[in-house]
């Protein structure tokens, strides 16, 4: 998968394109690692339709680390079908998921 990093105020935005499968999850984990200690990390899912269980585990671990570090972690721009996979995994109530990332990023100081 391709991961593009951008800054937007206090936020680091990772735009994800491709499949979050075994290989994609390893890439995602590496891309998130420098940003988990603190701060604000946003994941833009507009370019992906596929996430395997290993991808969910990587996100759950990142969420725990962010939570412990009192950082902000938000997921957004998901298609309805991708969002359904998060629903089935029982993670829509765990993660902060927003339809439009730009709303959260621009609203937060």
């Amino acid at each position: 998968m391709q991961i593009t990093e951008a800054k937007s105020g206090a936020w680091t935005v990772l735009k994800l394109e491709g499949k979050i499968d075994d290989a994609g999850s390893a890439e995602l984990k590496a891309a998130m690692a420098p940003h988990l200690a603190s701060g604000a990390l946003a994941l833009d899912f507009s370019g992906t339709e596929y996430i395997a269980s290993v991808g969910f585990r990587v996100l759950m671990q990142a969420f725990k680390e962010m939570h412990a570090a009192k950082g902000r972690f938000v997921l957004g721009n998901m298609s309805d079908s991708l969002r359904r996979f998060f629903d089935i995994a029982g993670l829509t109530a765990v993660f902060k998921i927003t339809p439009k990332l730009s709303d959260v990023i621009n609203a937060a100081p």
């Binding site: 499968d21 075994d22 996430i51 395997a52 269980s53 725990k64 995994a89």
Partner: protein, 146 residues
Amino acid sequence: MSAPLRETVTLRNDRAEIPRLAACIDAFCRPLGPDRESLMSFHLALEEAVTNVINHGYVDGKPHEFTVTLAAGDGGRVTAVVTDDAPAFDPLSHPPVDTSLPLEQRPIGGLGVHLMKNLMESVRYERRDGRNLLTLVWLPARSRPA
């Protein structure tokens, strides 16, 4: 154009095989006209099943081969059977995932099987003739009339 009703693909126990499996799933299923989201569910479920075999099935660290058979029929359903000769293991024996638990209390494993069970019409395991058979039955939602 009529789709083949049955196809078997032989895979090595190597994660690099997953893209080839994904291409086979597409080639087999596209002529059946499933909608995109439904096809993605089948990809996800079957690739979880195969990834399990590749990552956990063979414990001797040696190269092995196993098969995935796709069959169409029975009211538009597609059946996938993953057959491997690894040691007996029933992935469905994993305790169900309790998605109401807070994240801290959820066990690490089991999510792949949870997704499989919830995305497919049925998932069945049997041990037969020294082989593990995992059968996934998918009822595609259609984007256009068949």
